[in-house]
């Protein structure tokens, strides 16, 4: 087994009396697409938020390349090269595409204007955003237009471009196709493949089984706040996986221990 890029061991998170995740483990291998599936309330969002730095687990450990790391906020996770694409919260509708791509990581001009007057280098950010959009073959005419003028799929494309531009180690996608039509979902699946082709592993949280089976290398099944199994889509059918998810079927010992 190759060394995992990102791991979690025994993560616990409670909200008052509710235990969202209860000793959850997680392993992400290099250059793979790992789908994370689970019924509503299984705790997969909580797990993913902990990995993205959006919440702090009560106990347990997160490791990158085997080294323990602590994320106090999304900035910490981003500093480690982990980028997250959220369902539909990730972009600011009224701001233009280039500003959205660089939000929180703006480039400043060189020299007096940049260091003293702190002027943004909009031309550089526009050029870089255009190049990234073209790189992932997202057809958007101008990066000057506000994100609210785009279709749902294009907006998601902007969010993916942002994560791909900065995610050097891991890209997490939380239900990236939930709000999209068929054609636009297909576009996002293509983007996931392109990112994997660059050697960057993708964590895909999705309810859409056909998509999961189309693109995932391994499937992490989350149930009752824990990792119930990790299966390979080549070895299991969709109905098997649904049965594992609901508890109607038992995983093999190997699958239970996190798979190969």
């Amino acid at each position: 087994m190759t060394a995992p890029v990102l791991q979690a061991r025994g993560l616990v998170k409670r909200y008052g009396n509710v235990t969202a995740i209860n000793g959850a483990d997680f392993d992400l291998l290099p250059a793979e697409v790992l789908a994370v599936i689970g019924d509503n309330g299984a705790g997969k969002s909580t797990l993913i938020k902990a990995l993205a730095g959006a919440l702090i687990p009560d106990s347990g450990q997160i490791l990158m390349d085997g080294e323990p790391v602590t994320f106090h906020n999304t900035r910490d996770a981003r500093a480690h090269g982990i980028e997250t694409v959220y369902q539909d919260l990730a972009v600011i509708p009224a701001l233009d595409i280039a500003t959205n791509v660089f939000l929180g990581r703006e480039l400043r001009r060189k020299g007096f204007f940049g260091t003293v007057l702190r002027r943004l280098d909009m031309p550089a950010m526009r050029a870089a955003s255009s190049a990234h959009l073209a790189d992932l073959k997202i057809g958007i005419k101008s990066v000057n237009q506000a994100v609210e003028t785009l279709s749902g799929g294009q907006r998601q494309g902007v969010a993916v471009v942002r994560s791909a531009a900065f995610g050097k180690r891991v890209i997490i996608m939380d239900e990236p196709t939930a709000a999209l039509g068929v054609k636009e979902s297909g576009m996002v699946v293509d983007l996931i493949r392109q990112i994997r082709a660059r050697g960057i592993p993708v964590v895909l949280i999705s309810h859409d089984m056909p998509h999961v089976f189309e693109v995932a290398d391994r499937i992490h099944v989350h149930r009752l706040g824990q990792r119930a199994a990790v299966v390979r889509p080549s070895e299991r059918s969709m109905s098997d996986v649904v049965a594992l998810m609901t508890g109607a079927a038992e995983p093999t010992d190997e699958e239970r221990s996190g798979g190969s």
Binding site: A54, T74, P93, A94, R119, A134, D135, A146, E148
Partner: protein, 332 residues
């Protein structure tokens, strides 16, 4: 392997061409058109409106509200509102005049700056750390500051001597056009605010926090810091407005500028900034301030009663908010 000239790689898009839809999306266009129409109409129906001294008067009358409205714009861009902004300024004039009487003009100015900044920080702290709605917070601080000002002033007014405190009222001529340093300071404040809001990362974060707080947080923006900065800056701007107010009328009066808070909101809204946050322009607010100034002055020149002027301003506010709502609905 794919170089910049690789035909397989799509080229960076060409600069955007002129398009009518693009122009209509420019939020500044509506207010600017309204201002020009008002200028033309009043020039035609009265003989006195278009005189240089009258236009100069409009600018001078707009200085105090105009400066305050810079702060109000920033707060409204964060999806907040500041009802205490006028009260902070009036307290600023009293502090300035009283301290200046005892220890000199510069100490007076600095003390007022400090007091106003602290009051801004109190508003910002309650909004940011206790997560209270800005409307309620500033309604509370408005009442407190207004009463504290009355107590501090002891119902008296404080005339200030000519000097540094009245400097912003000093007139000078550009050709046949007479204006004051206060007008220059107001225009300067708009220029600086425009630059900061559109050309720096901090300014873009103000829009982001107002437009979508959750997305801003997930993008790693420290929303609390952005909000605090905006409220403290607004306190400082209120002190600047207090200085300009003493330049116009060299007498600190605890009962002056009772409606300044509402007048700044009027200017911001007429200028096309959305009360829902994240959308708008400080230059729009300047135009909004001038529209109100022109409307009031022009209607006075035309012999229209003061109360009708208020009605006209009210209609304009409702019209501006309606347009904003329609624009939002179309975009969602």
């Amino acid at each position: 392997m794919s170089g910049p000239n690789d035909p397989a790689m799509p080229k960076a898009p060409a600069p955007q061409r002129f398009s009518l839809a693009g122009v209509l999306r420019q939020p500044l266009l509506g207010p600017l058109a309204a201002l020009i129409i008002a200028l033309v109409v009043f020039s035609l129906i009265t003989d006195t409106f278009l005189k240089p001294q009258n236009l100069s008067l409009i600018l001078q009358q707009s200085v105090v509200i105009g400066i305050l409205a810079v702060g109000q714009t920033m707060i409204i861009l964060t999806a907040g509102i500041d009802l205490s902004i006028g009260a902070i300024m009036v307290l600023g004039t009293i502090v300035m005049a009283k301290t200046a009487g005892a220890s000199g003009a510069f100490v007076g100015l600095l003390t007022a700056l400090l007091v106003c900044a602290i009051l801004g920080a109190v508003n910002g702290g309650l909004v940011t750390w206790l997560k209270l709605p800005p409307f309620i917070v500033t309604l509370g601080t408005y009442t407190i500051i207004y009463s504290a000002t009355q107590l501090l002033a002891g119902s008296a007014t404080y005339p200030v001597a000519d000097g540094p405190l009245t400097w912003l009222g000093t007139t000078f001529k550009i050709g046949s056009f007479t204006t004051t340093y206060g007008v220059l300071v107001m225009l300067g404040a708009y220029a600086v605010a425009w630059y900061a809001l559109t050309q720096t990362a901090g300014g873009r974060h103000v829009y982001a926090v107002g437009g979508s707080p959750e997305a801003a947080r997930l993008s790693g923006i420290k929303s609390g810091r952005v909000l605090m900065s905006v409220y403290i800056l607004t306190g400082l701007i209120a002190a600047l407005a207090a200085w300009a107010a003493l330049g116009r009328i060299p007498n600190a009066d605890p009962n002056a500028y009772q409606n300044a808070n509402l007048e700044t909101i009027t200017a911001v809204v007429i200028g096309g900034t959305s009360l829902f946050g994240g959308r708008g322009s400080v230059l729009g607010t300047l135009v909004g301030t001038l529209i109100v100034g022109v409307l009031r002055n022009g209607l006075t020149q035309a012999g229209v009663d003061n109360l009708y002027q208020n009605i006209a301003t009210g209609i304009l506010v409702i019209l501006a908010v309606t347009l904003d709502q329609l624009a939002r609905r179309r975009n969602q």
